[in-house]
């Protein structure tokens, strides 16, 4: 029997199906919790953010449009925004003691097969890994830190010791390159 897609489950959630919501939680929670922890840097707050984020998904699921995005990326967007808003509201200082040279993503290690993610998502992850590896280091670094630390371009400029304009350019070029590469894979 073919596994139900993330999008189909999310649409059932949009129709008020609690069982579908539990199913979605099982599928997305590990990845979304990882994102929340990375951004907020605190486990308990990340757990709270996870609860709030899933309740928000329950409320907004009816607005999801599968023609515009994947269910997973839609959920990621929601969780990232929630986590970054929490981070900024807590006025916690960014962890500038972290070394900017540190790679936040391990792009070299072989992909571990995970039973909880769909094959489609696994294939997408591989495509993203390849695309990220192909980016120039400075672009990849800016994109990774902006995405996984929830930093503004100003904070990023301060952290990396790079002019603000350069940070913006790196993010723009890096993301556009990433988009082009991922669209090539899809086509």
């Amino acid at each position: 029997m073919e596994k139900e897609s993330d999008e189909a489950i999310l649409q059932r959630v949009g129709r008020g199906d609690e069982a579908a919501m539990a199913q979605l939680y099982d599928r997305f929670a590990p990845s979304l919790f990882a994102i929340a922890r990375r951004i907020i840097g605190d486990e308990q707050e990340a757990r709270d953010a996870l609860q709030d984020g899933f309740l928000y998904i329950w409320d907004k699921a009816a607005d999801f449009d599968p023609a515009r995005s994947k269910a997973f990326t839609w959920a990621v967007m929601i969780f990232r925004h929630k986590a970054i808003d929490r981070l900024r509201a807590s006025r916690r200082r960014i962890r500038l003691n972290e070394t900017a040279a540190e790679n936040l993503l391990d792009l070299e290690s072989p992909r571990s097969e995970r039973a909880d993610i769909s094959l489609e998502r696994a294939e997408s992850a591989e495509a993203v890994r390849r695309a990220m590896r192909s980016l120039p280091d400075e672009q990849r670094q800016c994109v990774e830190w902006a995405f996984l630390r929830g930093l503004t371009h100003l904070q990023l400029s301060e952290l990396l010791g790079t002019p603000l304009g350069t940070v913006k350019t790196n993010i723009r070029r890096g993301l556009m390159r990433l988009r082009d590469l991922l669209q090539e894979v899809v086509s």
Binding site: A22, P30, M132, E144, T152, I171, R172, L175, L178, R179
Partner: protein, 284 residues
């Protein structure tokens, strides 16, 4: 699309814009479909980075906690409607609504009744006021008529008073015609109007012959109780022998009995001289 817009769309995709920049970009997204497509594509690409993160399962109890919270969340949402409907379906709600409507209706009736009464009172007052005003107007008209009558009568009285005054004036006056006592002056005429109250008079002379250059006509008044004549002044006649003069005796004449004209030294004399001939005298 500008490079700046691409940049803002990319920063938006990783949620790196501050609140103000985000607001500006959202305004641009509403009006620029191409920018909207680009922003959506970049956001979709960025969010796929999450696929690269190693999974971290949250604590097991969080799942159960979430499902409990979800039920509570649903119930809270439903309750807001359900409670309302349940309350509306209670039998006492109908009675309460009916009671409220009855109170509102009674209040409406009471207010309407009070207003009607007030209106009737106002109409009555207005009618009374109108009738009082009409009565006052009628009185004013009567008073005006009385005033007009009184004014007319007053004018009549004033006329009568004037007449009486006139009569009174004439009552104090005596008109005396003097007769020539010398033949030479028989053609002449002398008339005196004497006002005893004012102690003055008017003399009119006609056809009087001229006197010598060093002589003047002089008028005298005789009092009943005083034989000595009192001077009333010098009289100058014109070339035709005419003169009209107002005179006043130099002393009071309580009861003028006689008038006389004599020819005296020029400028007149204070006391009647013996050599000055009397040419006119009267009444006889």
């Amino acid at each position: 699309m500008t490079e700046r817009q691409e940049e803002q769309a990319a920063l938006h995709a990783v949620y790196s814009l501050d609140a103000h920049e985000r607001q500006i970009l959202r305004a641009e997204l509403r009006t620029d479909p191409r920018l909207r497509v680009l922003a959506a594509e970049l956001e979709e690409a960025a969010n796929q980075i999450a696929l690269l993160l190693p999974a971290e399962a949250p604590p097991e109890e969080d799942r159960a906690l979430f499902l409990r919270r979800l039920k509570q969340h649903r119930r809270a949402k439903v309750t807001s409607f359900g409670t309302t409907f349940r309350i509306l379906r209670q039998p006492w709600v109908g009675w309460a609504v009916a009671a409220c409507l009855a109170v509102v209706a009674w209040n409406g009736y009471r207010v309407g009744h009070e207003l009607t009464q007030e209106m009737e009172t106002l109409i009555k007052n207005e009618s009374t006021a109108r009738s009082e005003a009409a009565s006052a107007l009628s009185k004013v008209a009567g008073l005006e008529k009385n005033l007009a009558d009184a004014t007319e009568k007053s004018q009549q009285f004033a006329g009568e008073i004037n007449n009486l005054k006139q009569m009174n004036v004439f009552a104090h006056m005596e008109v005396t015609s003097l007769r020539a006592t010398v033949r030479k002056f028989e053609e002449g005429a002398a008339v005196i109007v004497w006002d005893n109250e004012k102690q003055e008079g008017q003399l009119k002379l006609e056809k009087m012959p001229p006197v010598q250059a060093n002589r003047d006509y002089q008028l005298w008044v005789f009092d009943k109780k005083n034989p000595a004549p009192i001077s009333a002044g010098v009289i100058k006649v014109d070339a035709r022998g005419m003169a009209t003069v107002t005179f006043k005796p130099v002393e009071p004449v309580p009861s003028a009995a006689k008038f006389a004209i004599s020819i005296e030294a020029i400028g007149g004399v204070a006391k009647k001289s013996a050599d000055g001939p009397v040419i006119f005298a009267g009444p006889q």
